[in-house]
Point group: C2
Chain length 383, copies 2
């Protein structure tokens, strides 16, 4: 094989892997003239504070058969965080894995993301002290006042965050915004005649068992996995979250990561009176908390993530799967980079830096009975 | 009404209230020439570390219709403890409620309990440091060596503990041992033709749905409650216990009350591989831990009872129910005793001394949806 010059990175959740992702992969590879494509993927919990429908191994298989060469897990410390921290971890990881291109889907790829980043407030705290709006709303208002541009669509916001994180790298990657097709990220409607819908719309169809719709919107492998495998949602975790909220003292709840503004009182009250997770969110919601922020808080409570600040530096890369090209690249990374590559999770990792990722997987294993880390080997895709 | 001179106390769990209890109440009242009978009853968790099948309010109703005049809850801090602490709290409570008689069922009421108490080792720790036997076994071996008497039957052991606790009172009560009828406490067999069986045997019949047996062994009111009400067992709590064991760090588990000898490692391992509570107990069991001790430890984990020593003094009496004679007696106690009598649980109590009892009830409410403390009023039996 020749010299690898264009290594493309994509940040993804694949919850689940659908036709829009297939299209994005194809477009990205073409525009980046990619010799190799690396996916940094959320594990068993996604950025908006929800369990992934399919586990990280099932989603890795789908990503590899959909065109990825290498899939690496975005550690929990970044995966379940607001966009700027999520992007920071993901971009750093792609960079350390030897990527020099980063493609991302955006509602408005024509936006001048660099200009937006240059205009972001240097001291965020002084601008966002209003308590009647969520942070994303205030942030967008600010940018609009500064640049006249609107940054409300969720993939535009993520794109902005990737660009901002990229600018902080010693060797920034070439950024490739790609026009998203189909409905918006959180839009749950399905358009007639299309084969592309948002993840949210597909998850809604899965919940409703609308298999005609699903079959139309996802590759056959994904449809098969969605039928065969145990799918997990907050509904499955709700009894455990509720129990933890009821049994924990207010002092212990206060010590949970990101618990702020005394919301622990509200959460405890809401847990007592709510029958379902949806009821609970509705009862707990305030104007200052987005649903995503509330849901992330719920993940921290369920996993008992303590207020002790999460490490912000990247300490390892957990390899989820690869094909032969991906494996050859991994060997090069091993030689060139100091980043530990985890392909087998030992007790030292579980009781050390990997603990939180292990816990995140253990919560899934508790429900599904399927080991997530201790016994799992990287998925090898034969091409 | 005349002067009340014989106030009888009985310590009970009524899990559930059965014909043996009816017989014991009748015998005790007769032998004590009781003017009034007070029951100190475990709440929603019993001494062996199990949830009561019926909740404390349902059991209070049955006790009142079965002949009790007043039912008071034994606080959790005593109710879920080994026999000597259980007895200490219960006897102290009966004494503070103005009892001067205490009746208890025993397998061998003819035993000289006073002599046994007099012969108990003064320094227990020096005698019981063998790690190949449980404490009860070592204790019995010791007593047998000292007195030639055998103290293996569980109600004899409780009787011994009542007598020991009684001797520590400034004004000891008159003790009235009553011959237990039917099978032994933990014997789960049912004898043909009898109408009395042990609580364990009846719970087993309930689990198996053997209604012919149950109807024969319990009063009609109990049978009705067992059919109508939600019955709770460890099977219902097992998912939550398992989750708590999996999510808690070893350090946090180590801080649980009565966690000792490094058993937290075993419990965590056992939780991962066990599908049912029975599997779990079997996997976690060691020679040094009785099943009762293990089960109590499970309650402490489920309720997150911290190692911070539980208060050993009695701080309140929670009134569960009464008839008019019981109510008149309560009024006398209010005037004569400094012990706070709780009939309504306020936030001050919940966030203060009553917290653990509240938590114990909240865990039941979580499953049944039936409030246990905040909204409940004492049961009033019209006679």
């Amino acid at each position: 094989m020749g010299i690898i010059s264009n290594v493309l990175g994509i940040v993804a959740e694949y919850n689940p892997f659908h036709n829009g992702h297939v299209y994005q992969l194809q477009q990205a590879k073409q525009q980046a003239k990619a010799d190799l494509t690396i996916i940094v993927m959320s594990g068993n919990w996604v950025q908006r504070g929800e369990p992934a429908l399919l586990d990280k191994w099932q989603r890795t298989k789908l990503a590899l058969s959909g065109g990825a060469d290498l899939v690496v897990e975005l550690p929990f410390q970044f995966a379940v965080e607001p966009a700027h921290l999520f992007a920071q971890g993901a971009v750093q990881l792609l960079s350390m894995l030897g990527c020099n291109r980063l493609a991302f889907g955006a509602e408005h790829p024509e936006l001048d993301f660099e200009a937006l980043v240059a205009n972001q407030p240097t001291d965020a705290s002084s601008h966002f002290k209003r308590f009647d709006e969520t942070y994303p709303t205030l942030f967008n208002d600010y940018l609009q006042a500064q640049t006249g541009l609107n940054l409300r669509a969720s993939n535009d916001i993520l794109g902005f965050s990737y660009v901002a994180a990229n600018q902080r790298l010693a060797q920034p990657l070439k950024m490739i915004p790609i026009q998203r097709r189909g409905s918006a990220h959180q839009d749950t409607g399905i358009e007639r005649g299309t084969t592309i819908a948002s993840g949210a719309a597909i998850r809604k169809a899965v919940k409703a068992g609308e298999w005609t719709v699903i079959n139309q919107m996802v590759p056959a492998d994904t449809a098969r996995a969605l039928r065969k495998e145990q799918l997990i949602s907050w509904t499955d975790y709700w009894p455990y979250l509720r129990y933890q909220l009821l049994v924990s003292s207010l002092a212990d709840l206060h010590d949970i990561y990101q618990m702020s503004e005394g919301i622990e009182y509200r959460l405890k009250q809401a847990a007592l009176v709510s029958a379902t997770f949806e009821d609970f969110l509705w009862a707990a919601k305030t104007k200052r908390f987005t649903y995503a922020r509330l849901q992330r808080l719920c993940v921290y409570i369920l996993l008992q993530v303590n207020r002790v600040a999460l490490p912000t530096e990247l300490r390892y890369a957990r390899v989820l799967g690869f094909n032969s090209a991906g494996q050859q690249h991994l060997n090069r990374v091993k030689k060139a980079s100091k980043l530990p590559l985890i392909s087998r999770v030992t007790d030292d990792w579980i009781n050390g830096p990997f603990r939180l990722d292990y816990q995140a997987g253990l919560m899934r294993q508790m429900l599904s009975g399927v080991d997530q880390d201790r016994l799992q080997h990287a998925v090898i895709e034969s091409s």
